[in-house]
Subunit: 202 residues, 3 copies
């Protein structure tokens, strides 16, 4: 079940990566590269940081294939997908939750503390998007898009807190997915935003 | 032989890195940093992903020294090198092929599957250039320059396909180098390009 | 003692990261992300390259907490800190020296040669700032700010040279800290700069 959700999240993230390529008028290869980078980038960085090499995406090549499918879909039927953009964003919120949960669980397996669990949850969830934006030479969405990383951080924090109480992992995963996805959907619906840091003339 | 080609590729890539610094009017240190990042960056990322740490470049310091020489050359005789730019680009195509072959071979030694081999071939070949462009705050050439990464991907794919048939490694290496370098040279000569992704108003 | 200096350096770097967020008018989460990335980013990249995973910052969570404190400080009392900017820059020079020394020592523990020691000293010292600038979509300061990375490179080189002579580690650490910090302060005071690479029309 978690595996299927993980594959699903990878597909959605790959689609968001390939869309960035269409916004930047890149060629089809650029679209596939951004699809792969966005789909598996977060998990790869997480595994490298944990020392779990080669990363999971290299041990089950279905992840790469799913990314390439997502990228190909965008290349061929981008206008159709764009018309369903609200549905894509809802699916993206689910992917965010699933990736946060998987990252948090993997961090706990490697014996990390609460900050490490929150870090790995967020990194898995938003790392691919950061790589996508850096490659496309944009300021990464996470440092200015409200309640995207925040949702993953809150979900990861819940995992880290409940983990202390020896709650079984399936419950932890479920709580993380539901809270992250829920917060993201709520934030999208009501357009919640965080306060800016006051600008200074230095 | 492969070792000498590897050193040669590192030198050429370092030169391309240092040239980026001159285009951006960076100082001499920036030129050396970009020379090192471009020359050994791809291989270092490959080794980190494979878990082969510390990366090869740290175990044979000749790689760093070659990078610094390449950077220094550009600092002192950049105008002379620039006049030979066609020769530099041809040498760069050879470096691309050599790096792709080495990346593919190393991936196969670590037991990766076909997608992993193609990924590591491309990463080794173009990773240094991506780091160079990210540091110089440009959109990485690979997501918009036609038939650069593509050549490495095709070369890596040939390696991955032939690898299944138990063909001896020296043959695989040769096929990868010749195909990658050849495609790159052909693409440069005829200015081949890939189709763009259609732009959307989202 | 070194541990306290390390924590202090992390705090100062985190503050410089969060200030970048205020310059870019990011939200409070962006400020915290840049604080963490700048404070612990260099050390994390160093540990990943060395294969010392999970990186030190995940094994002692005080580092993350210090980063979050630094980021929070900037969010709340940025104008006050900005008025003391010269003091912050002096503290930053000390952090640079401490991080360079720690990076050099760790590289020597992992058996790297002179180039590896210099690389790890510089990477630890300036890596966080590079990540900060890449995330904020600026050209990294190290490739154009004079005598920042240079100071760390000189400090790391002194470590690498003296290391050959079997000088005890505490002396090496002290020499690296004093030289790096000293050169940085001198360069700031006299506004020293390196020559540019001549621009070419390619």
């Amino acid at each position: 079940m978690l595996y299927l959700l993980d594959i699903f999240g990878t597909l959605i993230f790959a689609i968001s990566g390939a869309f960035k390529a269409s916004q930047k008028e890149l060629d089809v290869l650029g679209a596939l590269i951004l699809a792969v980078a966005t789909g598996v980038g977060g998990g790869i960085v997480r595994d490298v940081l944990l020392g779990a090499t080669p990363p999971a995406a290299f041990q089950d090549e279905l992840y790469f294939i799913v990314c390439l499918c997502g990228g190909t879909l965008v290349i061929f039927i981008a206008p159709y997908i764009a018309r369903q953009w609200n549905m894509v964003m809802a699916a993206d919120a689910l992917g965010l939750g699933v990736f946060a949960a998987i990252g948090a669980a993997k961090a706990s397996h490697f014996g990390l503390g609460p900050m490490g669990i929150i870090f790995m949850a967020s990194m898995t969830a938003v790392g691919g998007g950061v790589i996508r934006d850096v490659l496309a030479n944009d300021v990464p969405a996470i440092v200015h898009t409200d309640f995207y990383a925040t949702a993953a951080i809150i979900g990861g924090s819940l995992f880290a807190i409940l983990y202390v109480f020896n709650i079984p992992e399936p419950v932890l995963l479920l709580v993380t997915i539901v809270s992250t996805t829920g917060i993201r959907l709520v934030a999208m619906h009501w357009k919640l935003s965080l306060p800016r840091v006051r600008r200074l003339k230095k």
